[in-house]
């Protein structure tokens, strides 16, 4: 299938407008539908105000803030270790991945670098949290589209990953395992073997989901050609992660950016899809779980021996400066702009979360679709409310 550009998006909208013309001739009245804040399809509390003509959306306006916790303000009264515990909660499904860019930014300001064993373990846990996060996405996708079963498979297999994370870090959802200069603790014995088993199970899960959902003709008819985002629009809106790669942009911060993580030691493919529609976004995520299991498998082979903490003072004061670090999180590019003025805590932290940018495209994207497509598009864009509102 060729790249669906702007023209096709317009044609799609035009075709739907033609369908809607009947209604215009009948002079029907529009209706404002309030989707949310409490709605099964909004992964939390996103509210979408949609003006409808029949079941067709004339315009839609997402209104967030129901889960705004003011993290940028809270960081200003907390010390660096406390902020680490805090940023866990931004994207609560892949929380370890939130710590890493913040810790890396702090390390950059301090001029320390974690020992290679710590970097390695960080990368493993980073990928595990990506798997835990996207696994749930794949199940939830089914629920959004009306299939009840995939979500239970997703919970079943995510549980194995969460057990691994809990076994290593002590926290099931909020590990708080990173420290400036390394990690809190080393891996417990047996972690490597268990992880290998779990990765095998997860590849099985991917196959299952592919058979159950992605190969399903109904699923394909629901997602193909729905919510097409062309490449340049995606870049303009600052979309990131799988949403960007599904629009055919071959850009992955894991590969393209030099960070003190172990991604340069593994061989992995960056998955892209030319279509830019909902199906492409879901498909890219599915393939990325597979790719992540491969990354973890490779990393497990090569964990170097050694310490897990660099030499850092007991009471951490970060020197003055500014640093920006972003990583390829499960939801997309997650970055922290940390401004330090030499205190125990940061002076200002700008949290650039992926979902905020990803979801800001919705007013543009939801024009002219049907009500069920709102759900498809929101599900495929994959946002987490904590990541939008922070």
């Amino acid at each position: 299938m060729s790249l669906l550009g702007d023209r096709q998006q317009l044609a799609y909208i035009a075709a739907q407008a033609a369908d809607a013309r009947v209604n215009v001739e009948l002079e029907t009245e529009g209706m404002t539908l309030n989707i949310g804040p409490q709605h099964p399809a909004t992964h939390g509390t996103l509210r979408i105000i949609a003006r409808l003509d029949g079941e067709q959306v004339l315009w839609a306006d997402p209104s967030c803030g129901y889960m705004h916790r003011g993290y940028e303000k809270l960081t200003e009264v907390r010390s660096y270790p406390q902020v680490t515990a805090l940023v866990n909660r931004i994207d609560w499904l892949g929380s370890f991945a939130n710590e890493v860019p913040f810790i890396l930014a702090a390390e950059k300001l301090m001029g320390v670098e974690a020992p290679s064993r710590a970097q390695h373990i960080r990368t493993i846990l980073f990928e595990l949290s990506r798997i835990a996060n996207v696994t749930l996405f794949l199940g939830d996708l089914g629920v959004q589209l009306g299939a009840v079963t995939p979500v239970f498979f997703a919970f079943r297999d995510r549980e194995y990953v969460l057990n691994l994370i809990e076994g290593a870090t002590g926290g099931r959802f909020h590990p708080n395992f990173d420290r400036i200069g390394g990690l809190k603790d080393d891996l417990p014995a047996g972690f490597i073997d268990e992880t290998r088993n779990v990765m095998k199970k997860l590849r099985g899960f991917c196959d299952q989901i592919e058979d159950l959902l992605f190969g399903n003709e109904i699923f394909q008819s629901r997602t193909r050609g729905i919510g097409v985002i062309p490449k340049d629009v995606a870049l303009q809106y600052g979309m990131s992660g799988a949403n960007l790669r599904a629009s055919g942009v071959d850009w992955d911060l894991r590969r393209d950016q030099k960070l003190p993580l172990a991604y340069d030691k593994v061989d992995f493919k960056v998955i892209t899809h030319p279509d830019g529609d909902s199906f492409a976004r879901c498909w890219v995520r599915l393939q990325e779980v597979r790719e992540s299991t491969r990354i973890v498998d490779q990393l497990l082979e090569t964990i170097p021996a050694g310490p897990i903490m660099a030499k850092v003072p007991k009471i951490i004061k970060v020197p003055e400066g500014e640093a920006w670090v972003s990583t390829e999180n499960p939801l997309g590019e997650m970055g922290y702009y940390v401004v330090s003025q030499g205190d125990m805590g940061p002076f200002r932290v700008k949290i650039r979360s992926a979902s905020f940018n990803n979801i800001s495209i919705t007013p543009w994207l939801l024009k002219g679709v049907y009500v069920p497509d709102i759900i498809t598009i929101l599900a495929s864009l994959y946002f987490i409310l904590g990541d939008i509102d922070r």
């Binding site: 406390q82 909020h174 021996a305």
Partner: protein, 163 residues
């Protein structure tokens, strides 16, 4: 070769899972009857070894949620060696952790310089009343029984490290 339609494959997956559940049992456990053991490192509840606490206030001051409350007073203790001078020690009057506020970050356990706080994987302490989630020092002390040994470390770990 004709491809199996996705609809049929999907039916196959659910049917296969049903058969598997029949034969091998489910992936869930029946919670109150069967309990899964959490990993040794699991952060379930914080236990207090009262004898080690010197009420140095470090945990209180590093708690991001302000959920630990300590009160103490100084008193004279008998000398450690015979003939030595009497010592001034901090005596702990109150050590409360409000689990309704705690966010289980583990910073207090990390900063404790005298090994008075430990994580226990115990998790069954929900309460009908939110005020009952404030655990005082006797209750925190009771959790000490459930604190496990730290797990062995994976190969390649730097063993000399921590407790």
């Amino acid at each position: 070769m004709a491809k199996v339609p996705g609809l049929v494959k999907g039916l196959g997956v659910t049917f296969g899972t049903m058969m598997k559940t029949f034969k091998e049992g489910s992936n869930t456990v029946q919670y109150p009857h069967v309990k899964e053991t959490p990993p040794l490192r699991a952060r379930g509840v914080i236990a207090l070894h009262e004898g080690n606490c010197t009420s140095c206030m470090l945990c209180v001051r590093s708690c991001p949620d302000w959920c630990i409350y300590i009160e103490g007073h100084k008193e004279m203790a008998p000398p450690r060696r015979a003939g030595g001078a009497a010592r001034k020690v901090n005596k702990l009057d109150r050590f409360d952790i409000d689990y309704a506020l705690c966010m289980y970050c583990g910073i207090c356990v990390d900063v404790c310089p005298f090994d008075a706080l430990f994580w226990s994987p115990e998790y069954e302490y929900s309460e009908p009343r939110i005020a009952d989630l404030l655990h005082d020092k006797t209750k925190l002390g009771e959790w000490m029984e459930t604190v496990p040994e730290a797990p062995e470390l994976e190969v390649g770990a730097d063993k000399k490290g921590k407790k």
